[in-house]
Symmetry: C2
Subunit: 166 residues, 2 copies
DNA sequence: CTATACAGTTCAATCATTGAACTAAAGGGA
DNA sequence: TCCCTTTAGTTCAATGATTGAACTGTATAG
């Protein structure tokens, strides 16, 4: 009766969730992005239990999202850093943060704001279309069957329907 | 020893995760978006346990992301639908799906592709700047302190640092 | 010689998840 | 009438995951 693994599902969302879809991982990744990179810093900032942080860091290292690096010898001390895939995840986490900001903002206001270095403006992260650049809404998206579709757990029904529809 | 609640954290990401940050909720929301909206359909598509699906649906209704609607009387049957905040979450989930596609794609290829109805092209969901429209990378984002910043669990260290830095 | 900082490990208690079996309300067919 | 099917759940025992507290080990500072 292990927790169901999403890793083998024929679904990119489920596979992504299998890597970072638990309660703490997104917060850990956000903290690494914000330069909170050491074990005891993460403990202090997040209030996560020590043994659980150990486990989470280990699993994030295993799936390649973060790296463990020595920042000091004598005594040996490690810090954690985002890898390429981890940095690639940051915009997604910012988009989720923006959603939380829209629908569950603390009454005191947003705790963190973001400035786009390239253009210099404070901004909201939004999800947009890679073809035309416009922000996308759920209504404007039509899902179609991809080459890897299959009626396996995670998309048992969905795969069938997409095949039939398109 | 309850699971730590993120709902009171002074952090929009944590508050968002408190609503939909468990293993199954994003998959449920994706399925509702894909018109898999009934209890037994979700059971079949996802392979989630029945009592757990009951709990997840209840908590998603409670936090306002989905709605329960009668689609048939005699006997009364319900289906679940995304609310406004739920539909607003879809692009974020698509962005996470695209990340999974980049870093954990099944060898058979992407199971689902997306077409932007507005422009007619197949596309990758990307996170972009609301000010200039460009896609953003982690390196191009500078976090600054917002009005609601506070040294409370979830951003104990981060809030202090942002105050000091900016 | 003691205190402190850092990065964890170990442990018992509690909570969450799983899968199987069960309930309930109606409709349809023999 | 009786039985089977559909749909949407509930109940239960077993197993895993999470929590918080206490502990370990290495090294520097005073």
């Amino acid at each position: 009766m292990e927790r169901t693994s999403f890793a083998e599902m024929r679904c990119s969302l489920a596979r992504g969730l299998d890597m970072i879809g638990d309660w703490w991982s997104p917060l850990i990744i956000r903290d690494l992005f914000l330069n909170v990179t050491r074990f005891d810093e993460l403990i202090e900032d997040l209030g996560i239990s020590r043994n659980l942080l150990t486990r989470r860091l280990k699993s994030l290292v295993e799936c390649g999202v973060i790296d463990r690096e020595i920042y000091q010898r004598r005594p040996v001390r490690y810090e954690y850093r985002l890898t390429e895939s981890g940095r690639d995840l940051v915009p997604v986490i910012l988009a989720l943060t923006a959603w939380g900001d829209r629908w569950a903002r603390p009454k005191e206001g947003s705790p963190i704001l973001f400035v786009h270095k390239t253009c210099g403006h404070q901004f909201q992260p939004q999800v947009s279309c890679s073809a035309c650049g416009q922000a996308i809404s759920a209504d404007a998206v039509k899902p179609i069957a991809g080459p890897g579709g299959a009626a396996k757990p995670g998309t048992r029904l969905v795969a069938r329907r997409l095949q039939g529809a398109s």
